[in-house]
Assembly symmetry: C4
Homo-oligomer: 233 residues x 4
């Protein structure tokens, strides 16, 4: 953990998730108003989201770890010793922060504050996309922390930039953000009824990444093992 | 402060703000001429502005701190001891540099040098957007300087890249730039009569960020406090 | 080589090539569905591919070298002592991983898993483009490793970003990716019958780069030689 | 200078300028073929050019300094002691490399190899734009080398990204590239008869930047001077 007290760590998680969601939702609204080309709208949405992720993880990471995402907190709890209570508090802060982000975006764009999305995002293909998106995100975080921790903000921002396009679901990969996006009937929305499928898929993808990382990233046990495998190469 | 004499620090602030405004205004004119899609025009505007911010802050930061923004100078005066006279001189240099940037853009694009904008940007939602945009900018600068000062040029460039899209006002977040933009009746303009509302909102956002940063970024007072909070987690 | 056993190095190559191809193919499908403007589709395709390359090379490079490309493995075998068996195993892992990436993209976008592309990409100009694209890629990798190895992920991502646009073939530059792309009848496809021409061109470009690098990047032999050339300057 | 013999330094300048021009011209042709929206074409052109500049300066800078531009060689000759013969050889290599880049782009896109542009780019506003563009480029290079030399590839790539949009001339800022672009009647072209105006403007901008840099970037002469200026602040 960091050396900051829990109160500030939770404020950091809430603030970061709020800005992340305000960016996802707000840039979607802005883009949707300015163009009729959906690809162009998604491109603007992608650029804003990727950029803000690099910023938020850099400036808030030293305080709270900059999870902004319940499945990130979950896998860190499983692997790196975040306590159960801290984990639950982190997740609560992320969800509340995310909802505040949606409300802020609505207020800035003069939309009704409380909305429910009607955008259908469900079915096996969408869930596979969410498993894939979250698997990649969590693996990138673990491998980035292992090999080049100072680059993690860039890695996450760039990964999401790509994943907005290569996954059919535009890569939510984050239950707190998904919940917040269920409360906006704009470009970035998702029907509340579709949340459970997405969240299950995201947890599944995260656990698969954790399993793969446990094997692929583990330290070589001893030099002899290494020597034995080399001739095989 | 830096070790450069005030004369060169002021030249640096004027030069940087001039190039920043020339980029904001000039790229807006260029984009507006080349496309009828407003989202595409804003995308080009965003790309140019974000890129030039990284460059200008990197090359002029060592000379003057690369504020280019009266509210940045203001919060530095409040927190880091820029003297009153230096602060006023910085702000004057920024405003004059910004106006020069608008004139330069007009000259390059063969437009009348002196113009007044007729673009309406006012009302509570726009002001909320400016409070949000400036709050984020100032917080990112403080947190960036605290945790990873060499990354500040990138953080500011990427933050503004996102904020052009997630705030309804396209994130002016800078009174000197706002004044300069009131003098161009092109893509990036703002009516002179709408300036006071924007400037008040920007100062307010900056002060809120200063308050949050004072709490969220402060050093842990002593290890014992830290130990006490950990069990609470 | 790295200190990881061959089994994990092969898993890394397969995983990385799968994500690379899933990104190339998947972002092409997504973009093609959302817009009728082919340049915009290629722009989204470019952004996703460049971004994911930076990520994959950063997080998998320490494990397997992050070749993801048979011609990269080939030139490393020729220059840096990858054994013949390792090289062949790498290439097999890349081809299988690439095909898995195409299948994954099809599944996520609810398309028939098995397809054959009908997109014609052949002729002298296309082959020249592939020679050029691969020549540049391999030279950038060698020179990057020589002068600034920590920057190689960025260099490759940015090079491919440019090469998608400046080469008439959109820069496949990778036989494993080309094979995988022959199995999708979507935006990123290539007719299976056009593969041999592309692969020959890619190998040729790689060998040319190897030759140039051997001369241009070699160490100055001794200070005297250097002194002798300087007056000539 | 670097420790590489002149022959390889010249090869580096020719190779780099060739790839730079092939990117500028080739990406212009590609974009122009794929869309009818000129802003989108310029955006693709910008992205490719900015990206390739970062790559080329990083991998060839250690060999030849990565000027790729006669006015860069000129100001380095005036300030940093490149000999007259080396300077002339550099400029010749840049011009020949640039022309080769145009020919390569034409060959890859199946266009007649030898062409003359008919795109009119002349008049006071265009020349002012070129003075501005080159002034900024040279100042960024000098200030970047002074304060953060390892960032120069990024600074140049990002500066040109912005300058493509904020200058009315799309920022040629390079006589060798301008000559090469006069030989293509495609998106990036310039009429041969308009070359002299552009080249004079570029040299003028470079000399102005050299003058400003000599004052703004000079070392503080002695600590006493510094102490004297501080109270004035």
């Amino acid at each position: 953990m960091t050396s900051f007290p829990l109160s500030r760590r939770l404020a950091s998680e809430a603030l970061g998730t709020a800005f992340l969601v305000a960016t996802v939702v707000g840039s979607g609204i802005m883009a949707d108003r300015l163009t009729t080309d959906t690809a162009l709208a998604l491109l603007a949405n992608t650029l804003a989201t990727g950029a803000v992720l690099v910023v938020l993880i850099t400036v808030l990471g030293p305080i709270s770890g900059a999870h902004f995402n319940p499945v990130v907190s979950l896998v860190f709890a499983l692997r790196r010793g975040l306590t159960l209570i801290s984990t639950l508090a982190y997740i609560a802060a992320q969800i509340l922060g995310g909802i505040a982000g949606t409300l802020l975006a609505h207020a800035m764009f003069e939309l009704p504050l409380l909305q429910g999305s009607t955008t259908i995002r469900t079915g096996g293909a969408q869930w596979l996309a969410e498993v894939t998106a979250t698997f990649g995100l969590i693996f990138v975080i673990f491998a980035g922390l292992r090999f080049r921790s100072e680059a993690v903000p860039w890695l996450v921002g760039l990964y999401i930039t790509a994943a907005y396009w290569f996954t059919a679901s535009t890569s939510f990969a984050n239950p707190a953000v998904a919940i917040a996006r269920s409360l906006t009937n704009t470009f970035a929305g998702i029907r509340p009824v579709d949340l459970p499928g997405f969240i299950v898929a995201e947890v599944l993808g995260a656990l698969l990444a954790l399993m793969l990382a446990s094997w692929l990233l583990m330290e070589a046990r001893n030099p002899q093992t290494l020597t034995e495998t080399e001739p095989a190469a």
